[in-house]
């Protein structure tokens, strides 16, 4: 009886959770004229024209490619820099380690709106405006601290004796780190990559400010449509549905480890 009540509660929550997404899916499969004239719970004459337009119009699909490109870059930069730092925080105590950790966390909390204009000026000075690298680097501001935080939790779960044994056996640090330590924490790396992906994928303000055309993210392409006269709801909905797909794919791969990242993370 108790089990059933739980399940029913959960199912109600999931229905509420999925309804707005379902409604967007519904719109994405209808033409604009149909959306505005008939109120319907499901597409009566399903059409994939909206999706076709996105896949064939360069100004649309290049947005997706740009987003995927700079998000991947950001994940790689975040992981490469955060791995050694997380190791340092989990294994060593050194001058100012606690302050440094707190400082990193504060950047996770810095309001992006504060940094918009200076960011633009800084990156123009280096001629980086409208490049994927600029967006990837600026997203490091909030992703690197998060990556250090999660990885440190996973690394602290590995006994230090393993490091000591390896050094006694004559391993050099880089060789130990790459051949022994990294495989041990690969779950942690997966989870970290997921969260970096997620936060970089959903961020809009910085990505939009730092790009004009060549590296413009899909989310910004969508805002352009919003401000244009005469909204094309169907097209907008189709673009929105497509922004969920990459994330849903990534989450499928880390689904069983997802919760762990937070439980281990130190504070």
């Amino acid at each position: 009886m108790k089990f059933q009540k739980r399940t029913i509660g959960l199912i109600i929550y999931f229905i509420l959770l999925l309804l707005p997404i379902y409604w967007m899916l519904n719109m994405s499969l209808r033409t604009n004229a149909d959306i505005l004239s008939v109120f319907s719970f499901y597409p009566q004459e399903p059409t994939i024209d909206n999706y076709l337009k996105i896949f064939t119009d360069k100004s649309w699909y290049s947005g997706y490619l740009n987003s995927i490109y700079y998000v991947s870059m950001n994940v790689v930069i975040s992981l490469l820099t955060a791995l050694p730092a997380a190791y340092a925080f989990s294994r060593y105590s050194f001058l100012g380690d606690k302050h440094l950790f707190f400082w990193l966390l504060t950047n996770r909390m810095a309001p992006p709106a504060v940094f918009l204009l200076p960011f633009f000026q800084l990156y123009s000075t280096f001629g980086l405006i409208d490049t994927h690298f600029a967006v990837a680097l600026s997203h490091c501001l909030f992703n690197v601290p998060l990556a250090v935080w999660i990885l440190e939790g996973f690394m602290s779960g590995i006994p230090r004796e393993i490091d000591e044994m390896a050094y006694i056996d004559g391993y050099s640090f880089p060789r130990f780190f790459l051949t022994i330590f990294t495989p041990l924490i690969r779950t942690g790396i997966g989870v970290t990559a997921f969260f970096c992906f997620m936060f970089s994928w959903v961020e809009l303000l910085l990505a939009r400010t730092l790009t004009t055309t060549a590296a413009k993210p899909i989310a910004a392409t969508m805002t352009r449509t919003v401000s244009a006269s005469g909204l094309d709801w169907g097209l907008l909905a189709a673009a929105g549905i497509l922004t969920i797909v990459p994330g849903a794919l990534v989450i499928y791969f880390v689904r069983n480890h997802l919760a762990k990242g937070f439980a281990l993370g130190r504070v």
């Binding site: 504060t106 709106a113 490091c140 989310a219 805002t223 439980a263």
Partner: protein, 290 residues
């Protein structure tokens, strides 16, 4: 675990320090620089000292935005934390159902923030949106673009829909970390569901819940894209939260000096809360180890 004492560990931290410092310190210095000047053009600047700070601190619109912001963040915490715990308790613990629940719960977190706004525009439209049409169909006039109260309800619903999953994930992670032996002991003692929750699950979740409170407070305090897309801060100024007001000031009116001073105050408020929470977190951390 006792750590090795070695200052050479700094070499491993340097890459992170550099990457973050480029994005954090240089722009921050630029903001400080702007906040002390009156800027007419690229080469016309006058040093004005703390004038902009005085102006920002006495700006009634800033006070209104701050009050709105604190009310919003408090409501967000009061709704999302209990709701998130409740749902985490209802989730299955293992098997395919657990995986499926996790994937479903995490979906809203993976949607770009302005797309969240777009989804809710579509969802809340009185003519073509499901919920908007449903509420109006019940005979209650509801339009988030015209009535301030309706706009508030809509933004709050959107925020709860969007971010409760993060609390669920965190609470679920905390619950999963409790050894089965605790529950067995509770069953032998004949503990009620409530007692099990109150004396076993809740204390064990303290760590993750504090992180949840911290992240939810900060993110709701900095909320921008979703309400901007949904309501644009309106109707009137009813959903103009701090960051929306800041961007209006900086981009809309090109008032760089006041906007920068405002940014600094905003950042310091956020930092103050961050520090308070961090101290609380440290205490919780030491409490758990004993």
């Amino acid at each position: 675990m006792k750590k090795w004492q070695d200052n050479k560990a700094w070499f491993m931290v340097i890459p992170v320090f550099l990457v973050v410092a480029v994005s954090a310190i240089l722009p921050l210095m630029t903001v400080v620089n702007y906040s002390l000047q009156d800027i007419f053009g690229p080469d016309q600047r006058v040093f004005v000292g703390i004038e902009w700070y005085q102006e920002a601190l006495t700006d009634p619109r800033l006070h209104a935005a701050l009050k709105r912001q604190l009310l919003f963040s408090s409501l967000v915490l009061l709704i999302e934390i209990p709701l998130g715990i409740l749902i985490a308790l209802m989730m299955p613990k293992r098997g395919w159902a657990a995986s499926l629940s996790l994937v479903l719960v995490a979906l809203p977190l993976l949607i770009p923030w302005n797309v969240i706004g777009t989804i809710w525009i579509i969802f809340m439209r009185p003519d073509i949106g499901l919920l908007g049409a449903a509420i109006n169909g019940l005979g209650i006039p509801f339009d988030h673009t015209a009535a301030p109260f309706d706009a508030w309800v809509t933004v709050l619903m959107m925020e709860v829909w969007h971010w409760t999953p993060l609390v669920v994930l965190l609470a679920y992670a905390g619950l999963q970390a409790i050894p089965e032996a605790y529950f067995q002991a509770a069953r032998i003692d004949g503990a009620s569901t409530w007692a099990t929750f109150r004396y076993i699950q809740l204390p064990k979740m303290r760590g993750v819940l504090t992180i949840a409170v911290l992240l939810r407070f900060m993110d709701s305090f900095l909320i921008y894209a979703e309400p901007f897309v949904l309501t644009g801060g309106g109707p009137g100024n009813s959903t103009t939260f701090l960051s929306i007001y800041l961007v209006k000031l900086a981009v809309g009116q090109f008032d760089l000096g006041p906007a920068a001073a405002f940014s600094m105050i905003y950042f310091l408020i956020a930092l103050l809360f961050c520090w308070l929470f961090y101290q609380a977190l440290l205490k919780v951390g030491t409490g758990d180890k004993s």
